[in-house]
């Protein structure tokens, strides 16, 4: 088998000019990615941005229309079988047969990776142990919690000891505690040397786990870099506060208009007002308090923070990360923004 030229010794994944259309829908309009071995690439974007299409091409499930993709030195089109021997794919519990026990599920996957029966059995035991599922090993997977099913699914993707792991929205729909557990597992995989490509719509997830982040929107890479690099593109610190009395938002915006670098951003639904203040952090904070006090506007939750990937997404695309989502899945603002998300939902419910 020939090594693809330009497959690059240190790169686990190389994608160049990848395109894919479904009829009139241009899912990918020419994306480039490169993932060095042993690192985590976070692919960030709203639903329908093209993340899943990219993963499906890289895992040999879908043929690209144009461009090329190389995984562990193997072309995903011409050397699909070799690619499949190097990768693992996990995501939303699809590999799990709910009627079977955790142990049976992993043993069967082991057999499908052509392990001998004794080896398939011992590999199942190892993985159940590593993923904290030993106690539940002989229970049907349908009795597992969502977090346990997701862990079992991830364990299944590791049966073949892949060098490159694709995680397609691994924590979508998980409760916060299971999510943190999943993050720990992913970190330990990286520590063990696995290369990971992780798609997510959660900005904090990419921020936490990824060495490099690419932001995809409408089938194109609109930004790439480390979390810090992306944040610095938004420009410095952000002063943010909440105006409990929504009628005073306009006044608040006017009061602080002079303290920052650009226009303040106000969300009329949540009452959250923010403004980029460059490197004048604490000084701007004091200015903001003075101006708002002088204008007689009551505020809450005043903070000075580094820009989040939320800000990055807003700055890059002009819309928030979850705007294109369907109702009922607005989970992206969990974590540091949980309170805000809650209030947002409340505001919707009462309006």
């Amino acid at each position: 088998m020939s090594q693809v030229s330009g497959g690059a010794g240190e790169l686990a994944i190389l994608v160049e000019g990848l395109t894919k259309s479904f009829g009139d829908v241009h899912a990918l309009r020419g994306i480039d990615l490169s993932v060095p071995r042993g690192t985590v690439l976070g692919v960030l974007g709203p639903n329908g941005a093209g993340k899943t299409t990219a993963v499906r091409i890289l895992t040999t499930l879908l043929l690209p229309d144009g461009g090329r993709a190389v995984v562990e030195g193997h072309d995903v089109v011409r050397e699909a079988a070799a690619v499949r021997r190097s990768i693992g794919l996990a995501g939303q519990s699809a590999a799990i047969q709910e009627e079977l026990t955790g142990r049976e599920n992993l043993e069967i996957i082991g057999r499908l990776y052509h392990l001998s029966w004794p080896r398939a059995r011992s590999r199942a035991v190892e993985l159940l142990e590593q993923f904290g599922l030993s106690d539940a090993a002989d229970r049907a997977a349908k009795t597992y919690s969502g977090g346990m099913q997701r862990r079992l699914d991830l364990a299944a993707s590791l049966v073949g000891q892949p060098q490159v792991l694709f995680l397609d929205e691994p924590t979508t729909g998980l409760d916060p505690r299971s999510r943190l557990g999943m993050w720990d597992i992913i970190r330990s995989l990286v520590a063990g040397g696995t290369t990971i490509l992780l798609t997510t719509q959660y900005l904090d997830e990419a921020d936490e786990l990824a060495d490099e982040i690419v932001v995809i929107d409408h089938g194109q890479v609109i930004a790439a870099g480390t979390s810090e690099e992306l944040k610095s593109r938004v420009g410095g610190d952000v002063v943010e506060f909440t105006v409990p009395d929504r009628s005073r938002i306009t006044g608040a915006v006017a009061a602080i208009a002079e303290i920052g670098d650009g226009e303040p951003h106000a969300d009329p639904e949540t009452g959250v007002v923010s403004i980029g203040v460059g490197s004048r952090g604490s000084e701007a904070l004091v200015d903001a308090v003075r101006s708002l006090d002088a204008a007689g506007i009551e505020i809450r939750d005043l903070s000075l923070r580094r820009p989040s990937l939320d800000d990055v997404f807003l700055a890059l695309t002009g819309h928030a990360a979850e705007e294109e989502e369907l109702g009922g899945r607005r989970r992206g603002r969990r974590g540091s923004r949980a309170g805000r998300a809650g209030r947002e939902e409340d505001a919707r419910a009462t309006s």
Binding site: M1, R56, T59, T60, L61, L62, A81, A82, R84, R85, S86, I87, G88, L89, G91, Q92, A94, A95, Q97, E99, L100, E104, I108, I109, R111, L112, Y113, H114, L115, Q130, G132, A140, L158, G160, Q161, P162, Q163, L165, D184, I185, S188, L189, A191, G192, G193, T194
Partner: protein, 278 residues
Amino acid sequence: MTTITASAGVHGAGDPSLRTRFGWAVTDTLTITRRNLLVWMRVPAYLMFTVIQPVMFVLLFRFVFGGAIPVHVPGGYVNFLLPGIIAQTAAFATFGTAIALAQELKKGVIDRFRSMPMARSAVLAGRLVADTGRMLVTILIIVGVGYAVGFRFMNGVIPAIGMVLLATVFGLAICCISAYTGLAIGDEESVQAFGLIWLFPLTFLSSAFVPIPTMPGWLQAFAYHNPVTYVVNAMRALALGSSLVDPLGPNLWKSLVWIAGIFVVFLPLAVRAYRRAS
């Protein structure tokens, strides 16, 4: 948590030989077969559908409708009925094939398998093998229940085995059609509804339950040329003896031609639908 090691690589570089790949195709198919049979045994509803329902049909036709259906067959209606109900059950068993494949497609199971270095044919092949095995179990149960309510093979052991085999091969052919519909439609409820639309007329508008001459003329035309009729007639001849019912020869070769035709058309269609499935 301790470090989880994943990057060792169980597989050497290089593509395996053709012979190794064929061996894998067989073991992968058996692994998937085992998985499907385990699931079948774990879900009471599936067992119910494949065992209880056919038995109820036997009892219903034997004791409720049977008395009103005049047949000129040695041993009476129960001997006429059994081959027909076995053929129908074999066809109906493929509902499960279509539904399971549609579910696996929708849930992403098939995608996951296709991202693994297993034989690509194994998901479909394992499904067909498991469902055929399941079908065979059901057929044997019906024969057992049939014996309890008066059915008797009257033509010797070898033809009796031939009857069971013919029913199974016919069921496997219908399985290919169902596999294709399941993969092509890809939605559990639609697949189920669609199955009713073609499987009910196909099996009931045949010689399975009533003598065709009792049907109105326009329906006879369909029933006489229905492949299920050929299969059921051949099964009856195998079970009871050619001299007492419709002759074996013409019905058997027509059955086999139909079954071969179904394989030739629908197996490639199912394979293509599986490859395209996404």
